[in-house]
Subunit: 401 residues, 2 copies
């Protein structure tokens, strides 16, 4: 059997559903051809007569699937470092507002940035994630809040996938916040959002539709209108649900068969049960929990009890999680949320792939999947979660190279 | 005036005492000769006729002093990733103890490691810090708990300063924990520690003497005996003080004119006042606070009110802070302790230099000091504190090169 590449002498974290736990294999081998895995398993079970154009001796190193960051606002204009500094120095909310702080400042900076500028500003953040072995990322719009800027954000996200070896899932988040020109009329703004959706979707810029359903975001009814529009267009949905208040967003997301419901700090048991029934992934975001000094933990025991898959993600955004390390996110998942090592690693691979509707091609080391690999200088997989601010990535492979 | 090097077109975070706040300079210039800064200030004030062998155009980038990590246990054998994994999976303290977990496992791994192995294991951690612009580091012994291993740890620390361009301050921490062979007789073990001190000091391996004064460490009386021995040898002291219980360690450290008292979560006002009087620096360790899920904040308002200098550090160690990012430590200082941006940056430069007794040669951009620089791709200094898991270091200079 002739293949493009073989990685031999490796230990594997396969995440293959047929294997227990993380699907560990001690003496493993991966073979890839045409960018796809053709074999991943015990070297002893490999096809006989493997003839590879390129063979890598991994010297016993661990290989995981390439990491997947499934909830980010990576593309945005400016930053909020000045606001951060002023708040720590004791500035009041009113003072910050007067200076145009908060999400409004990011909307302004995003609206005034060109597509090239948005790409240039996002690249260092993307490169930080890539340096840790991230091979797939979700990127949301939501700082434009008008048709031109929302689509420019998504075009910038698409451009990033051309600038770097990475897959990008693009989520439309027009219903993220209120634009200043809407003057507080949320219902009218949701009409605008629903009207943006068909033309932006027709540009091929939308892989899923997201909304922020919360007491400082949009109501259940408004979210429903966005989801109904998405459904008409045949687009899957996801939801920022029950972060700051329980608006029963988890149940609403489940009702629409959402790929994921994200944050969930204040979700209730009924919502979690509904997510299980609909196959909706719980995306937990410990970086935002950390940065905003949240004290209400997500209902992790209920999520586990119902068997809802748990993904974790950076939530990279300038206001509540200026975080560009998925490894650190894994440590935060363990330290702050008491997730197990297995949950943290699966949450940044297998379950994150499900949250993006990409489980058919990503998230595990199995024949038929894209050959996205992260190769690590570690002695045991737990080190990926245990260390804080340390990157043991040895090499990264995206679609076979 | 002929000099080795000039950095021009830069913005400076000088930390110079004569300037307010962080001592910012908008259009700055640094000149160095023989590894020392000969000028750092506004370009307009630079000596006329500067003739540099090497000129760097910084294109407006910010320069800070090289960062200083003033409290680490960087040199140790093994890691505690397995214990971390087991604990998250629900293993009890007894189960972990049966498996030889806790600090005892690190003592065993350190005792069985050669000096070469200790150096090899520490280098990736050191390189992670160096990659963020750290140019001076403190490294403690304290996982040997016998004379041979304590001195081997310190020799490994000294070796690191030869392997990499960095200054290493070596602290003797024989009074860190109880070795198993001491069978709980703390008083007898402190005799052993005091007996180790003169021979290890005579090898030139001790820059300061540390102890762990706490209810799971050593008593005030035992700490006093260690400090008295240090005093006889003319060695400065520092102290792990009042982290888990208030043993009035801060006041004890102050009584001995300690360079620093570290942790301080449970220090009282009288201890803080004593530190001010003795010029003892408060070293805060938010990584350990985060990792052990501490809820008691250090008495930051009292520390501020008394004008005690605040340094921050990674506390890099395998048991309670497996952290190798001083930038992340700065973010944790702001996020978890509500330190200001100015306190976080000064805490990893100026105040950290004072905590190591190196303020005469480190910690600010001033003529006469070592030319240790960190050059950053940022728009404002606050970005160093605001971002999480992001490293904007552009270049690093140690002693002029």
């Amino acid at each position: 059997m002739t293949v493009d590449s073989v990685w031999k002498n490796c230990r594997l974290v396969t995440l293959a559903p047929g294997r227990p736990g993380l699907g560990l294999i001690d003496k493993g081998l991966v073979a890839a051809d045409g960018g796809k895995i053709v074999f991943a398993g015990p070297a002893a079970d490999a096809p006989t007569g493997l003839d590879a154009g390129h063979t890598v001796d991994c010297a016993g190193r661990w290989i995981t699937p390439g990491l997947i960051d499934c909830h980010t606002h990576l593309v945005h204009g400016g930053d909020r470092a000045e606001e951060f500094e002023l708040r720590l120095a004791g500035a009041s909310y009113e003072e910050l507002s007067r200076r145009g702080g908060g999400i409004a400042s990011t909307v302004t900076a995003t609206r005034t940035a060109s597509e090239d500028q948005l790409v240039a500003q996002a690249l260092p953040r993307l490169d930080a994630l890539i340096a840790e072995g991230v091979t797939t990322i979700e990127i949301k719009s939501g700082y434009g809040l008008d048709r031109a800027t929302e689509s420019r954000q998504l075009r910038a996200a698409r451009r990033l996938a051309r600038e770097r070896p990475i897959d990008v899932h693009k989520s439309f988040l027009g219903a993220h916040a209120m634009p200043p020109e809407a003057k507080g009329d949320t219902s009218a703004y949701i009409d605008t959002v629903c009207a943006m959706l068909p033309p932006i979707a027709s540009e091929g810029l939308i892989d899923s539709v997201d909304a922020f359903c919360d007491n400082i975001g949009f109501s259940r009814e408004e979210t429903t209108r966005v989801f109904d529009t998405a459904r008409k267009l045949g687009l899957p949905v996801r939801l920022h649900a029950d972060q700051l208040a329980n608006l029963h967003g988890a149940a609403l997301a489940a009702k629409y068969g959402a790929l994921s419901a994200d944050h969930l700090e204040r979700a209730d048991e009924a919502g979690i049960a509904a997510m299980k029934a609909s196959g909706t992934v719980a995306v937990l975001l410990p970086g935002a929990f950390y940065f905003i000094r949240e004290t209400q933990l997500p209902p992790i025991e209920a999520i586990r009890r119902h068997g809802v898959p748990i993904a974790i993600s950076t939530d990279c955004n300038p206001g509540s999680s200026p975080l560009t390390s998925l490894l650190l996110t894994m440590n935060m998942g363990a330290t702050l949320f008491r997730l197990t090592v297995e949950e943290c690693i699966a949450g940044a691979t297998r379950e994150a792939a499900k949250a993006l509707g990409m489980w058919d091609c990503k998230g595990s080391l199995e024949a038929g999947k894209d050959c996205d690999l992260a190769i690590w200088d570690i002695e045991r997989p737990a080190e990926l979660v245990y260390r804080i601010g340390f990157n043991p990535l040895r090499a990264r492979v995206w679609r076979g190279t």
